[in-house]
């Protein structure tokens, strides 16, 4: 294995995975850096718990390491890694359902410190933002799983319809229709919040 000190991190995902498949661990490191926060947020919107989400992301990168040769250049790397993370999050949800445990941390805030990107300094706004997040988070959690998947991928992760179709292995038309229905459901659930926001 070769470890290269690369001064050009602007490789495409596909180039990086190719390098990693050829034994370049620096490329693996770059992939981890590129995707760890994206995947954390993705998993978090499913699980609603940051520590569990971080475990899912760790497991995703471990699987990437172990199964690096399973990736074929025919697929987009991002859709491949999102599929792995999504499946792991789904498994975690199933396990949780089986355990039927409701931990207190899920209802409140996590013990571990996680940094929030671009959080506004204004305390009032911060409180407002946290409350709003909680309301939206609850609304998303109450969506049926098939709607939850698409809304997270489309409106939170902001992936294209084509990518979502590849990740979930469902036709493009189905993705669009599910997004449409998920948005209607969310609008209905968040009616009060929307009215409040519109007034402001």
């Amino acid at each position: 294995m070769t470890i290269k000190t690369n001064s050009q991190p602007n490789f495409s995902d596909e180039e990086l995975i190719k390098k990693f498949q050829d034994g370049d661990l620096y490329a693996y490191d770059l992939i981890v850096r590129r995707y760890k926060d994206q995947l954390l947020n993705f998993a978090y919107r499913f699980l609603g718990n940051l520590e569990e989400s971080e475990d899912v992301v760790q497991e995703t990168f471990l699987r990437l390491y172990k199964n690096r040769h399973a990736y074929k250049q025919i697929a987009k790397f991002s859709t491949w890694i999102y599929t792995i993370a999504g499946n792991l999050a789904k498994t975690e949800l199933r396990k949780r359902k089986r355990r039927k445990l409701v931990s207190i941390s899920e209802l409140g805030f996590e013990e571990k410190e996680y940094e929030i990107e671009d959080l506004k300094a204004d305390t009032e706004r911060q409180t407002d933002s946290i409350l709003k997040e909680k309301i939206i988070k609850n609304a998303i959690e109450n969506l049926p799983f098939r709607f939850k998947q698409v809304i997270i991928l489309r409106d939170i992760q902001e992936l294209s319809y084509e990518d979502i179709s590849s990740i979930l292995r469902i036709p493009l038309g189905t993705v669009k229709s599910r997004v449409n229905r998920a948005r209607i459901k969310l609008q209905q659930t968040l009616k009060d919040l929307m009215t409040h926001e519109n007034k402001n």
Binding site: V32, D37, L40, Y114, I116, D155, I156, N180, Q187, M194
Partner: protein, 215 residues
């Protein structure tokens, strides 16, 4: 809030900026007279914005350290196993299935060869068939001959035993019951027995009975 279903789809495409010009105009025309769709569009935009602006979290500072330690374990684990390049290609379930099929195949082969060896030792049938070659007619003919030879052998065995124990009727009856061609043998045995009973010097009669049986 009423939903104009046709236009809801258009609204969805509209906020995704994925709507063709004709539909865009149609939607805008419709919204001029539909306050419900106007509100829907406003809410849809707001929802999209709210979802996109949800706080983004970053992994904890220990993330990289933990991942590296897990990776190290993984690398050590794989290096303690046979570190051969083809191993990652082997999937456990198909490998197990292939191994099971292989075992069954070997088992069938061994079973067959044992069976053939046993048959060679005990039955003249197989020898006869093999000697005759593998043509269908020859095989049928050889099978008939072999069957006849087998029957003759059994009968000879029976008669030999009977000659040794001419007065032991129960013994010979038991023996006859276990013979392959039981009913026929028992009939001959009964005939022979009646003759034996009538004549104490029975040996010639038994030979005669043996000779009168046509196979």
């Amino acid at each position: 809030m009423a939903i104009c279903y046709k236009y809801q789809k258009y609204i969805n495409d509209y906020i995704d900026n994925d709507i063709d010009a004709a539909r865009k105009i149609e939607l805008e025309e419709h919204m001029k007279n539909c306050s419900s769709c106007q509100e829907n569009l406003k809410n849809a935009k707001l929802l999209k914005k709210s979802l996109a602006s949800l706080p983004r979290y970053r992994t904890s500072p220990t993330f990289d350290i933990v991942l590296r330690s897990k990776l190290k374990k993984e690398i050590n684990k794989s290096s303690t196993l046979l570190n051969l390049p083809f191993l990652p290609m082997i999937r456990p379930v198909p490998a197990f299935a292939a191994f099971t099929i292989f075992l069954i195949f070997v088992g069938v082969l061994i079973g067959n060869s044992i069976n053939i060896l046993n048959k060679e030792k005990t039955t003249p049938k197989l020898i006869a068939v093999e000697k005759a070659g593998y043509g269908e007619e020859k095989e049928a003919e050889a099978t008939q001959q072999a069957d006849a030879a087998e029957q003759r052998l059994k009968m000879n065995n029976y008669v030999n035993v009977f000659e040794q124990f001419p007065v032991s009727t129960t013994g010979s009856r038991d023996l006859a019951r276990y013979e392959y061609n039981g009913r026929r043998i028992e009939k001959i045995q009964n005939d022979s027995l009646s003759r034996v009973r009538n004549n104490p010097t029975s040996k010639p009669l038994i030979r005669q009975a043996n000779a009168s049986v046509h196979f």
